[in-house]
């Protein structure tokens, strides 16, 4: 590791360490109320307890199930619809700006409507997560298939490529990295919107449990859950990032 990169790593570790130290001082020395900000030591104790008892499992299962179903829906429909749109310049000109415009709307506003339609259970979270993550996937798919260099397509046709060969050996490899990038963004926004909507209107899930603890003033436990969700999200994003890097190399 070069000296410059080592320096970057040191700062990256030092910043959170200093923040935690300030947090500790705020609760022990500077008299910040324990109800507003629990002692970090208490949070660590609560986290140990949560992990040891496995009490997080039912909520984690609900959240991950919602995420998996929502992402499966948005990834398949986004790629399929994006591919169909990308096959004609006319359809790209009509639908691409339309989809981009809808994506710019805060789609979380659909949550009350989805709760009315699908109830307070997982179905409304799945619907919201799928809706929000559909857009980055479909837009990336249109961009991926729509921007394949014309010369490559012409060259393949001149060499006698069939429609399937053109798709398999030219269009798909050209579009694949762009689609993967769209899927990574889609996955991230699906996770954000599902946990976010669990905190607003739900019966179960990690977001739901955090709000419950907050309302019961169980601050160390609530902070422990927040840390746990952050860690889960970091692991999931890392996995998706690695999958994308692996897919790009192929």
């Amino acid at each position: 590791m070069s000296a410059r990169r080592l320096g970057v790593r040191i700062v990256q570790v030092a910043v959170p360490a200093v923040l935690i130290a300030l947090w500790y001082l705020a609760t022990t020395r500077w008299g910040v109320s324990r109800i507003l900000l629990p002692n970090p030591v208490a949070v660590v104790e609560a986290l140990k307890n949560v992990l040891a008892t496995g009490e997080f499992l039912p909520d984690l299962r609900v959240t991950l199930l919602e995420l998996a179903v929502a992402f499966a829906i948005s990834a398949t429909s986004g790629v399929a619809i994006g591919f169909l749109i990308s096959r004609s310049g006319y359809r790209i000109r009509v639908y691409e700006p339309l989809l981009a415009a809808i994506y710019a709307v805060p789609l979380i506003l659909f949550l009350p409507l989805y709760v009315l339609w699908f109830g307070l259970g997982p179905a409304s979270k799945i619907a919201l997560g799928a809706t929000i993550s559909f857009f980055p996937v479909v837009l990336a798919t249109i961009a991926g298939f729509g921007n394949v260099d014309r010369v490559m397509v012409t060259a393949a046709r001149a060499m006698g490529a069939s429609n399937f060969q053109l798709f398999r050996f030219v269009l798909l490899p050209a579009a694949f990295p762009v689609i993967l990038a769209g899927m990574r963004v889609g996955f991230t926004v699906a996770l954000l919107s599902i946990i976010g909507s669990e905190t607003l209107a739900s019966l179960a899930g990690l977001g739901h449990h955090i709000v419950e603890l907050s309302e019961n003033m169980e601050m160390p436990r609530m902070f422990a859950y927040v840390a746990f969700v952050v860690a889960i999200a970091a692991v999931l994003n890392l996995v998706v990032f690695r999958l994308e890097a692996w897919g790009r190399r192929r």
Binding site: A158, M159, Q165, F169, P173, A174
Partner: protein
């Protein structure tokens, strides 16, 4: 070998867009030409004169608005991968494939068996001097090497006809000269029929058996000049009086046409009707 030409172009015209449309362009008008078997014919002319359009029509990538093209005795009605291979100006290699995979893929599109593909790919790569770079990706090669790879891919298809659309157009002058010399040696051995589009006068004289000079848009062939110098051409040919004479003759023919193109462009108002 029969005396029938490899390529017979008859009264070919082409128009992009419909009459009356804003983007309607007459690219090519009433063009006729025969290309003999084993001949290297260069198409040269001002930009926009329709020389690439004619090449695409010969290759079956574009259907002419009028007229017809016969290749090896059969009318062209679409790509003819078994008879015709293309080399494009640039970016026609697949960047996610190595050089060897790129060469392989063209033959795979034609259904050549795997073992034969490997052998033909190796031979083509050796012929263009890229055997040591077979496992490189296009992005790892210089522009000149990429065009050698594209040529290897075209050669591996073993077609009788090779259509080259400004294959060295994006390269610097030195690289272009070296590739031109290598191409002359390579093609003298293959006996292919070649149509080569260029905008370089020197390249045309150096490579061609005959040079067809285009007029300004709507383009048609204004004159055909024979070079009459055996292949492979030596580097000394470039400094000969014959070369200079032919080059000057081409320059004279082209100069007026390029002037016409430029004055037509400057006479056109920026926005139609804005000056009225």
């Amino acid at each position: 070998m029969s005396n029938e030409p490899a390529i017979r172009i008859r009264d070919v015209s082409h128009r992009f867009g419909e009459e009356g449309e804003a983007r309607n362009v007459r690219a090519l008008t009433g063009t006729s030409l025969d290309v003999a078997r084993g001949e290297l014919l260069c198409l040269i002319g001002p930009s926009g004169c329709g020389k690439s359009t004619l090449l695409n029509i010969v290759g079956g990538l574009l259907a002419p608005s009028a007229g017809s093209v016969e290749v090896l005795g059969r009318t062209v009605a679409g790509p003819r991968p078994r008879d015709i291979a293309f080399v494009f100006q640039e970016n026609a290699l697949f960047p996610w494939n190595t050089v060897r995979e790129n060469v392989d893929l063209g033959m795979r599109f034609q259904g050549v068996a795997r073992a034969e593909r490997a052998e033909r790919a190796q031979r083509a790569l050796v012929a263009v001097g890229l055997a040591d770079f077979a496992e490189h990706y296009p992005a790892q090669l210089s522009g000149g090497m990429r065009q050698r790879a594209a040529l290897a891919r075209a050669l591996s298809l073993q077609t009788g006809i090779l259509l080259m659309d400004e294959p060295f157009g994006a390269l610097d002058e030195q690289t272009r000269m070296i590739l031109g010399e290598d191409l002359s040696v390579l093609l003298a051995a293959t006996k292919k029929t070649i149509v080569f589009v260029t905008h370089s006068l020197g390249e045309a004289v150096f490579l061609a058996d005959r040079v067809a000079v285009f007029s300004a848009r709507p383009g048609t062939i204004k004159q055909v000049i024979a070079v009459e110098e055996p292949h492979p051409r030596k580097p000394e040919f470039v400094t000969s009086a014959k070369f200079t004479g032919l080059r000057n003759q081409l320059y004279g023919l082209l100069h007026d046409e390029i002037r016409k193109t430029m004055s037509a462009e400057s006479a056109r108002p920026a926005t139609p009707g804005a000056l009225s």
